[in-house]
């Protein structure tokens, strides 16, 4: 079947659906040539496969028994899938010098506390900047916009000095507390609050004597649920992926991600276990994203930069 017949078939299908369900079924078919549609689907399909293939390979690899991991020539797919790599991973977790469960505990603690703090701190600040007309709020927001323009590498050296002055080197605090004030989080919340929290509602609540804290929790936050769910997701996946860190020396304070990197780079002997740990590692953020996806898209639609 050559490309011409595919396009013709698709065009027939498209015309049939438009006839049945009205022209909105396929967006603006005036500007959409059938050939272009097919071309886009093909490109999208190929690139989607390229994007997914490495992840599929990690999953496949994690299910391979030892003899299939070292078969020559290597095969992409697994013939006799086994969960042995996963059981090995958990056995390894029990027997390593620092129990593996400790790494997981560290990561969970950092992710949960850091995310909650981030959402609360950012939302409070975003609400005040968006909805309380105090002098200086525009200045504060412009600093936030500028700080979107560089990343944490720049501040890592001086932060190290700050952390040692505070005595936070080699504690959880060094990772958790700075995570409370992410600029992108505040930025997203502020943009969303500005468009989605109506001033009239706030005014009437204020007239009835509600204080700002109450208004924030009872009126503003429910109105911007998609935004804080998005922030929850972004913050969580960022912290979940915390790896080796210059502030942390003690082995028992290191994260799951760090431990996994050690297993994977430790060498070929643990290829299967390494893949299994990558799979364990990616399940959590992907699940969180699937649950939150519609909220995320909704939030992102207001996030652009207004001039």
């Amino acid at each position: 079947m050559d490309i011409k017949t595919i396009i013709d078939k698709y065009k027939a299908y498209r015309d049939k659906r438009i006839a049945k369900k009205g022209p909105n079924t396929f967006k603006r078919s005036v500007t959409r040539s059938a050939g272009g549609d097919v071309g886009i689907f093909i490109i999208l399909g190929i690139v989607a496969v390229i994007m997914v293939l490495p992840m599929v390979y990690a999953i496949v690899q994690s299910l391979k028994p030892l003899d299939e991991l070292w078969v020559f020539p290597p095969r992409f797919f697994v013939v006799n899938p086994t969960l042995k790599n996963f059981t090995d991973l958990f056995r390894l977790m029990g027997s390593s010098w620092v129990p593996f469960s400790r790494y997981i505990f560290n990561t969970v603690l950092i992710s949960v506390v850091g995310t909650l703090g981030n959402v609360i701190f950012s939302s409070y600040a975003a609400y005040a900047i968006a909805k309380i007309k105090f002098p200086g709020r525009k200045f504060l927001f412009s600093i936030i916009v500028y700080s979107l323009m560089f990343n944490a590498t720049v501040t890592s050296i001086t932060n190290f000095i700050t952390m040692s002055l505070l005595g936070w080197v080699d504690t959880y605090l060094a990772i958790i507390v700075p995570a409370f004030c992410t600029t992108f989080g505040l930025y997203l919340m502020k943009q969303f609050m500005e468009t989605n929290v109506t001033d009239a509602v706030l005014e009437s609540a204020r007239l009835e004597g509600a204080n700002e804290n109450l208004i924030f929790w009872k009126i503003a936050m429910p109105m911007v649920k998609p935004a804080w769910i998005t922030l929850l997701m972004l913050s969580f996946q960022g912290l979940w992926n915390t790896g080796a860190n210059m502030y942390i020396y003690s082995e028992q304070l290191k994260t799951f991600n760090y431990a996994i990197s050690q297993i994977v780079t430790a060498g070929v002997a643990r290829a299967g276990v390494g893949s299994a740990s990558m799979v364990v590692m990616m399940i959590v953020p992907i699940t969180v994203f699937i649950i939150t996806q519609s909220n995320v898209i909704q939030t992102m639609s207001t996030s652009g930069m207004k001039e």
Partner: protein, 311 residues
């Protein structure tokens, strides 16, 4: 309301008015305080302090000593590896920045053509690599250096190469592979933002466009969609640029630190070397300061260009 305010302002000086407003809205300061207190400690102060320390030598034990421009002079004249790092950083940023931006934009555009359910799934496929922890390490297994690596095996099978390539130990391969992996993981927040942007465009604009003679999807993208999405395009550019300077961790994980022949040595690695290992904080601060101005400079420049595009 507005009228009342105007009267007050004409009665009293601007300064008094500001004070009154501050007093009236004091709770606003209370609410931004927790965030901005931490933000100043961990972001604003470090940047300022880093600029100040860059003119000193400081080893964390003795007090900083003022040395004028010595660190910068040493960086540019004596430190060959730093020049390599600058070159590599610029190459990585120049490819991954625009690369990830265009990938995000075009695939968001393509994905927008799909029906909602399929759209959600394909979005996940493209977004997943950027959130899946250190999944990029799978590339060390895919590109394993012996014949058990699947890429080597297939390349040998089809006769492209006669013996396995040590991909992540070969300075000719590392930069390319690292860029590919970086791009693979780069469809992040700006990608989602573009998807949201395409979905949020008012359909009536397209109908009006069709009446005005927009005949194909490229014209539609250029004349209707992109101008409407300017806010997203601007923020997306900032995120892409900032991200493009920050792929150091991916590079370290794939190519090791230091990388063979410093072929993938970036400013970030140099910073880590002097700050984290040698504790030459003054020198490291000078590196951080240069990186800071590079990022801000790149952002302001691109921002200026983007502003012109629409007008």
């Amino acid at each position: 309301m507005a009228k009342e305010k105007a009267i007050i302002r004409s009665d009293i000086s601007r300064f008094r008015w500001t004070l009154l407003e501050m007093k009236k809205n004091w709770v606003g300061y209370l609410m931004v305080m927790p965030f901005f207190l931490l933000f100043f400690i961990f972001t604003v102060v470090p940047v300022v302090l880093s600029i100040m320390l860059s003119f000193t030598t400081f080893n964390m034990l003795e007090l900083p000593q003022f040395v004028q421009m010595d660190n910068y002079i040493r960086l540019i004249l004596d430190d060959d590896i730093f020049l390599i790092a600058i070159k590599n950083t610029m190459i990585f940023a120049a490819i991954t920045g625009p690369g990830s931006y265009l990938l995000s934009l075009f695939f968001a555009w393509f994905i927008n053509e799909l029906r909602p359910k399929i759209r959600a799934i394909v979005t996940l496929f493209f977004y997943a690599p950027s959130i899946s922890g250190n999944i990029y390490l799978i590339f060390t297994i895919l590109f394993n250096g012996d014949q058990y690596g699947i890429v080597n095996a297939y390349a040998m099978k089809f006769g492209f190469i006669s013996k396995p390539i040590l991909f992540f130990a070969d300075k000719n391969w590392i930069p390319t592979l690292v860029i590919v992996v970086a791009l693979w993981t780069s469809l992040g927040s700006s990608f989602l933002m573009f998807i949201a942007g395409f979905q949020g465009i008012n359909q009536e604009l397209y109908e009006a466009g069709a009446v005005d003679g927009v005949r194909n999807r490229w014209q539609e993208l250029w004349f209707i969609t992109l101008p409407t999405m300017r806010p997203q395009l601007m923020l997306g550019a900032i995120l892409a640029i900032t991200q493009s300077f920050g792929f150091g961790a991916v590079i370290t994980a794939l190519a090791g630190f230091p990388s063979p022949d410093y072929c993938a040595h970036t400013i970030m690695h140099h910073l880590e070397d002097y700050g984290g290992t040698r504790f030459e904080m003054g020198y490291a601060s000078a590196i951080a300061t240069i990186l800071f101005f590079m990022m801000i400079g790149a952002n302001l420049l691109v921002n200026k260009v983007l502003r012109k595009v629409g007008s």
